[in-house]
């Protein structure tokens, strides 16, 4: 091997390593962010509701890693992970969760409504399945404006039984819209097992509309990224919509206050947390591939913890909006 080839190979290897270390960092950022949300909430510093994304990090990060900054996403009530994966900063996220002025929505949206249009995030949504129309409309808009943007609609398995989803999937299929429907199947819609609410194979539903669908291990970020990438590339080049079923699990309750969780077995939770932690799965792969060692991963964690801690401090110190702002932004 001559030196030029080896150099190129090394550069490609470095790019590969940096890519996955970045993915690891982002997943860890979501994990640690959410742990702090939990603490802020239980410490009485965060009003409202907190639906944690812990355990599902590989879905948001794997999918968003396949997107450009100008691509669109729509998110859900469990949306912190999507926002961070698409590029939101932790300080303004925390500020919004606390209802503070520098928050992404100047304190008017809160946990369930964070929007960050600069990063293509058209907003989280408090209505289960409610954003399916918005994502599909963004895809129609991209097509009409002849950009090559794509839109991703994140939703949980609970939204599989909302009619709106099928209305807009039908239109996306008819009009070959660049939209990917990403189902985060975390097994429980609020407090009810999906087997009690959802008949048949979810993938049969897009299949009936002629929408290409795939199923992936939602705890394996590399698999999610590869599958999402295929759908994104097809959509970007005029191939129409896709549907990706990501099998994942909500490590915590429906929201922070869902403590006892009588609807599921402790052994089931412990099994997922022990064996199927997406952050640990990627960390193990990085070590196995010699792309990072324990010290390297610990260094990343230190940096992420410092970033999150600074974000919390920023939000705690930030001012609340002036009460007079209550009537601003009702109309454009």
């Amino acid at each position: 091997m001559d030196i030029g080839v080896r150099k190129r190979a090394t550069a490609a290897g470095r790019a590969q390593r940096d890519q996955w270390l970045d993915v690891y960092r982002r997943m860890l950022l979501i994990r640690i962010f959410e742990e702090h949300v939990n603490d802020l909430y239980t410490g009485g510093k965060m009003p409202g509701l907190a639906h944690l994304y812990i355990g599902e990090e590989a879905v948001a990060v794997g999918v968003c890693h396949a997107l450009r900054r100008d691509d669109y996403i729509t998110s859900t009530h469990r949306g912190h992970g999507h926002c961070l994966a698409k590029g939101a900063s932790v300080d303004r996220m925390f500020a919004e969760l606390l209802g503070k002025e520098p928050g992404y929505c100047r304190g008017k949206g809160g946990s369930m409504h964070i929007a960050d249009p600069d990063a293509g995030n058209l907003g989280a949504n408090g209505i289960v399945g409610g954003s399916a129309g918005i994502a599909t409309g963004a895809a129609l808009s991209a097509k009409l404006r002849a950009t090559d943007q794509v839109a991703v609609c994140f939703f949980g398995d609970g939204a599989l039984n909302q009619g709106l989803l099928y209305e807009v999937m039908n239109m996306a299929a008819l009009w070959k819209l660049p939209v990917i429907y990403v189902c985060e199947h975390n097994v429980y819609g609020e407090y009810t097992h999906s087997s009690e609410t959802t008949a048949g194979d979810p993938k049969a539903r897009p299949a009936a509309l002629g929408i290409p669908s795939g199923e992936v291990d939602g705890q394996d970020v590399r698999a999610v990224y590869a599958a999402a990438g295929d759908h994104v590339e097809r959509a970007r080049h005029g191939g129409g919509p896709g549907f990706l079923l990501c099998r994942t699990y909500r490590f915590r309750g429906h929201h922070v206050g869902d403590i006892n969780r009588p609807y599921r077995a402790r052994e089931e939770e412990e099994g997922w947390i022990r064996d199927r932690d997406p952050v640990r799965i990627l960390g193990g792969w990085l070590a196995q591939q010699r792309l990072a060692d324990a010290a390297g991963l610990e260094e990343i964690e230190r940096e992420v913890r410092a970033e999150v801690a600074a974000g919390v401090q920023f939000a705690l110190a930030a001012p609340y909006p002036d009460p007079s702002e209550v009537a601003e932004d009702v109309y454009a």
């Binding site: 008017k108 408090g126 129309g133 808009s141 009409l144 454009a332």
Partner: protein, 330 residues
């Protein structure tokens, strides 16, 4: 000035705005080749093509949701909801999404979308194709609501609706599409929140919306014969509402009747009556009278349906009752 029908005026506003702004698209059921069931959009697809006049499946929630997403990302969709009754199917998209996106995002996102839909009974279409549900959307902060009564107002208000950066629900009385009137040529814009006095008078103010303006005008003619001078005020938009013009009229006449084709209870008439009572109480010689559709599902049989809607005679009778004793004491 040239005359055209209400339906033609709607079509002209859309065509002019679509020529002016390539972001304006029409999306709805049977809007392209069919030009809608009311034929209002006939021919637009020939000029603008199926990419901008988009026939959709029968999926009101989906159509509206797609409109919201397109509006948030650079388009200016005009969503067609064939019958106002069907807006119930799209309510989450209108009320929880379109109306709130701007506020919830702290002002960063906008939804410049128009939902065109219909109201009005007496088409013998029974309970699910005849309602006037404009009070529902008027209740929701974040939405604007327009309901023109004349061809000229239809053109001017629809142009404004399309150019507005907020979601606007635009109501057309399906019984008015053939009504003719003068319509200005070329660009014609009527600002929202400006009521129009359709007939000047001194004894009683009749506030009337949409096709009820014609009922009020006919009542005014009947009243004139009885020596009562009625002023007919058309708010033209329910939000924003031109309270100043309503109040000024009542300050002059001292009496007010509000006529609207929505259900009476908790309806538009109640809101406008309350505004007048609040802001012109000292000028009122009598309580504000409300006349709306009967609080029943709209029946099919013509003899029953005709009993449910306000008529010129019912409005004139109410005005006479309001003015009678006071007139006698003068």
């Amino acid at each position: 000035m040239r005359e055209m029908t209400f339906g033609q005026a709607i079509r002209e506003a859309l065509a002019e705005e679509m020529r002016r702004d390539s972001r304006v698209i029409i999306i709805g059921e049977d809007v392209a080749e069919a030009g809608t069931v009311f034929k209002v959009l006939a021919g637009l697809v020939d000029e603008f093509g199926p990419e901008r006049v988009i026939d959709t499946p029968i999926s009101e929630a989906g159509i509206t949701g797609v409109g919201v997403g397109a509006a948030m990302t650079g388009m200016r969709p005009v969503v067609d909801i064939m019958f106002g009754d069907f807006i119930t199917l799209a309510m989450d998209q209108i009320v929880n999404q379109a109306a709130k996106v701007h506020y919830m995002s702290g002002g960063k996102l906008r939804v410049p979308m128009v939902v065109r839909t219909t109201l009005g009974a007496t088409r013998r279409s029974a309970a699910q194709h005849s309602q006037s549900l404009h009070a529902w959307v008027s209740h929701i902060p974040g939405l604007k609501v327009a309901l023109p009564s004349t061809p000229a107002d239809a053109k001017g208000l629809l142009t404004t609706a399309i150019r507005d950066d907020n979601p606007v629900v635009f109501y057309e009385d399906k019984m008015m599409y053939q009504v003719k009137g003068p319509v200005p040529e070329g660009e014609y814009v009527i600002p929202f929140g400006v009521a129009d006095i359709k007939r000047a008078g001194t004894d009683v103010t009749i506030v009337a919306t949409s096709s009820m303006v014609y009922v009020a005008l006919e009542a005014a003619t009947l009243l004139e014969a009885a020596g009562i001078s009625a002023e007919v005020v058309d708010p033209r938009t329910l939000y924003p509402l031109d309270t100043a013009t309503l109040v000024r009229s009542v300050q002059k006449t001292g009496r007010a009747i509000v006529v609207d084709e929505g259900y009476m209870r908790y309806g538009i008439t109640a809101e406008i009556a309350a505004v007048i009572a609040d802001e012109a109480f000292d000028y009122l010689d009598a309580p504000v009278k409300r006349i709306g559709a009967a609080d029943v599902p709209v029946p099919f049989s013509p003899v029953l349906e005709d009993r449910t809607v306000p008529t010129a005679h019912s409005v004139a009778a109410a005005a006479t009752a309001l003015c009678g004793p006071a007139s006698a004491s003068r």
